[in-house]
Amino acid sequence: MQIYLPIAEMPVDVFLILGMGVAVGFISGMFGVGGGFLLTPLLIFVGIPPAVAVATQGPQIAASSTTGALSYWRRKSIDFKLGGVLLVGGFIGTILGVLFFNQMRRIGQLETVITLSYVVLLGSVGTLVSWESLAAVIKAGKVPPRRRTAGRHNWYEGLPFKLRFHRSGLYISVIPIVFIAILIGFAGAVLGIGGGFILVPALIYIFRVPAQVVVGTSLFQILFTMLGATVLHAATNHSVDLFLALLLMVGGVFGAQFGARAGAQIRGDYFRVLLGLLILSVAIRFAGDVFTQPKEPFSTTLTETVR
């Protein structure tokens, strides 16, 4: 069954788009990542114009993270204070990212920058997470994965502006948290992603936030980032497609439910191995684009249309 998208100006198969929403929603609910790093390339692959794809994955991710965040909220596993601090940093990062994005577009190397950033960012995060968690799985719990111990602190936790985060059981400086959030906001604006796949490992490894709180807090942060991104995209480049978003949302919220249940049944170590491998596989796909000889070296871009 086909439906015509009014903004993308093309017909798409309803069930294909719903299916993509379900698949990405499943992963989103399972790992607490937004799934933008999967959805954007998928949409472009089925022929949606890149501008529409980047802009429209915002509402879809917002919808599935609303569902996710609500269920974590009921279980009281969202650290709102930590989430708030992350949002402040994310906001600053987003503005910087948009400025950088426009500058790169002016130079004409945006596509290369985006592809290489995907490779570097996803590749390094994916490798780190897989490596660390595989090692933990092999050791089979003999050494519990880096539990916080009293009196042992990393240098960055002792910087000024210390805050107490009750829900996460942390008493650390906000400087490294805001710094990470700025980086994520920056990457999000440039690459059209929520940044959950960076935030989740960062909270686990750098700040040692308990795993249950991490996913809820990450979803909370992603939700507000994506709502902001939707409004910004709609206001500046008018490429949010309502029909496409609605299809993806409906698929996504269903997928997220099943994903969240599946995620609850997986052991923490395996959970991180899977997340790491998932991120790594996307990085490899992007690397393939850049490092292998393309079958069709030519591509076309419509620069202006007279109507």
Binding site: P6, A63, S64, L242, S299
Partner: protein
């Protein structure tokens, strides 16, 4: 549409019956529709075109066989063609050419192959065929490299936006023909012009044209207009919808 078709058929019949006058051919063309409205279930549209060659002052039996070429062109726009080249271990878009006034849709339809209808020089003069319709000019810097122009045509043909069909025109009487124009679901919005040429013995003897428009229906257009002119509100509306869908799902799936 059917009313229009019947009217066209009557016109055709009336014209078949007429004869006599000076020795010149005139061409009358009529399109089944001149306005194509895109609704949410739009997946493409087939247009049919009738052409009548009106002969004057010719003896009845002396008619040469006619050929017809129907060229449909969509709205024009500038296109950048990029080429990936090896740079160290990477393949990057390093080379590009710009072309202006490239039609967003181009269909060249005829009753037999273009090469058998007219000679190469005639086709070149009249710009018949995809290759002849794609302008040569390059706006930006860079030497003329035919591979970019070839790639542009190859990619557009693969996307179904450029096509040549030597079987899409059918003569239903010696001086009456019908052509089908299949617009794909991805057909760009805008004004399309239809250029019809009739040949006899390899020379063009008559030419006619018509046009049609592809536009969104009121509902689709309203949505697009709101998105374009009230972006902030559109974004906020979409955000609220996202929250609503997410909340609804959590209510539906709640297991307490």
């Amino acid at each position: 549409m059917s009313a229009r078709l019947i009217a066209t058929a009557l016109l055709v019949l009336a014209l078949i019956g007429t004869a006599g006058g000076a020795r010149a051919e005139t061409l009358i063309v009529s399109l089944s529709r001149d306005n194509i409205l895109i609704q949410s279930n739009f997946t493409g549209e087939r247009l049919s075109l009738f052409g009548v060659i009106q002969r004057e002052g010719d003896e009845k039996g002396a008619s040469a066989a006619y050929d017809a070429v129907v060229t449909v062109r969509g709205p024009r726009g500038a296109v950048t063609v990029r080429r990936k080249e090896q740079y160290g271990p990477m393949w990057l878009n390093l080379d590009e050419r710009k072309y202006i006034a490239i039609p967003a849709f181009l269909a060249v339809q005829s009753n037999r192959s273009l090469t058998s209808i007219a000679s190469a020089s005639v086709r070149e003069d009249l710009r018949i065929g995809i290759n002849a319709q794609v302008p040569q000019q390059i706006v930006a810097r860079g030497a003329n490299d035919p591979r970019f122009r070839e790639a542009l045509q190859r990619l557009r043909i693969a996307q179904g936006l450029f096509r040549e069909n030597p079987e899409a025109v059918r003569f239903i009487a010696p001086n009456v023909f019908q052509a089908f124009v299949d617009l794909p679901g991805t057909a760009p919005l805008g004004d399309y012009d239809v250029d019809v040429m009739v040949f006899a013995n390899g020379a063009m003897i008559a030419r006619g044209n018509t046009k049609f428009r592809v536009a969104k229906t009121a509902a689709e257009q309203t949505l697009a207009t709101i998105a374009a002119e009230h972006g902030v509100w559109f974004g906020m509306g979409t955000s609220i919808l996202a929250l609503l869908v997410g909340w609804l799902a959590s209510v539906i799936f709640r297991r307490d």
